[in-house]
Symmetry: C2
Subunit: 257 residues, 2 copies
């Protein structure tokens, strides 16, 4: 029988089911209104934002811990995620004010000890379909919401660095991971796909050349539908040809070069 212990239970006094010194932080990417968004938590009574994170139970893998964490935070199952870096600076979480903040939240001193220890944090990035996410704060936070990359302020601890590394990784793996498939809804238009590439690569691409190259890979199905409702000419809808897509990713695309 599986024993599920979440942070709320644990904070309320259950025995410690987590491995010490190891944590994980997730950069959850979504794509909405032509921009990359990330999921951030606002700590209770504080003006600081933080990446959703968690700890590892004694009998699960890092990936299982990340999935557990993200299912709680997003309401989604089968989340695509990749670990990308371990952050291990001894000073990364010994912020002077951090424990004070937690004490203010009324945390029991015995539990404060847990947060006082040194943590090595494994960074994951997750790709989710924006519209399907139902953000839910965790015990320590008062809100969980989408933020665009520009409007985020300074994040807690080294979370800015984690986010930057995630972005750089996403950029490097864009042609090797199913980024489009996981960030876009099942049906999407070519301009939407292009905008996604432009956002991640942070550069403009030629509309016509982009389309030519994308179609040449044979990873897209042109659907017999158009996206009506928008202004001006209605673009075709596409979906991914999953088998060809995965095959092409194994070789590595070269889109946006």
């Amino acid at each position: 029988m599986e024993r599920k212990v979440d942070l709320r239970q644990w904070l309320s006094g259950a025995d410690n089911e987590f491995l010490p010194h190891i944590s994980l932080d997730c950069v959850v990417f979504g794509f909405h209104d032509g921009a990359l968004k990330i999921l951030l938590l606002k700590m209770q009574n504080l003006d600081q934002l933080a990446l959703p994170g968690g700890f590892m139970m004694r009998e699960e893998t890092l990936e299982e811990a990340a999935i557990r964490t993200l299912e709680e935070r997003t309401g989604l199952e089968n989340i695509f995620l990749q670990q990308f870096h371990v952050f291990s600076d001894p000073a990364r979480n010994d912020s002077a004010t951090r424990l004070e903040d937690l004490k203010k939240l009324g945390m029991h001193p015995a539990k404060l000890e847990w947060f006082a220890q040194r943590f090595i944090s494994v960074g994951f990035y997750a790709l989710v379909e924006f519209s399907r996410v139902r953000p839910k704060p965790d015990v320590l936070s008062e809100s969980c919401d989408w933020y665009s990359l520009e409007e985020r302020g300074k994040l807690v601890l080294d979370h800015d660095q984690i986010l930057d590394t995630a972005l750089a990784t996403l950029r490097m793996q864009l042609n090797h991971q199913p980024v489009g498939y996981n960030l876009l809804p099942r049906k999407f238009t070519m301009p939407e796909l292009q905008k996604l590439y432009e956002t991640i690569l942070d550069k403009k691409l030629d509309r016509r050349n982009f389309q030519r190259k994308m179609l040449s890979y044979g990873i897209l199905n042109v659907l017999d539908e158009k996206r009506t409702g928008g202004a001006y000419k209605a673009p075709y809808l596409y979906s991914f040809h999953l088998r060809n897509y995965q095959k092409a990713l194994r070789q590595g695309l070269e889109a946006g070069a």
Copy 2:
């Protein structure tokens, strides 16, 4: 004052200066005789080979721990290394025979406990210049030597998987990391560079097109020397134009496509 505690000291009874549950394993790549080699340890009294690994001291980063480990194993300083994956399967190091083996080595029961715990291991790959390495076994092993990828047998625990992942990572990052610079001696010939690419990518490349592409990047200095001594026509020697090389890597080469 820095306090250095190595595995030997620690095993001999010093206080535990290592973080629990966290280990690291290094895949050290060298290039010799036109083939990729990796550094492996042979455990005492056992026919098993293992990757060089170690633990993390309470006040160092993962990278510092890996460098410390590798300096001991290779005699080199300034080793190029990259973390590439964390291996966290709860069952990865609960081999039935493993503790028995360690007991046979005469390890103190108190120290055996250390090895009995669950470990999350961070995988690093390192690129070194083969000829400069002076392999040195650690306390638990009787030898430390180069092996070609083919002649290695089954490795301990999940080290086969770690090695395979390192290779796949190396292949993917070949055009983004200074692989040639770190694996080859300062002066090298074009055929040597090509063979390196062919080995890592595991495919033949056209000699003339490879040279054309490499030279087109402007990352190589043609030296006024040739490699004499070999049979037949003496090839030119090259060295990397470090500034251009690093600039080109940031964009990502496309060699061997």
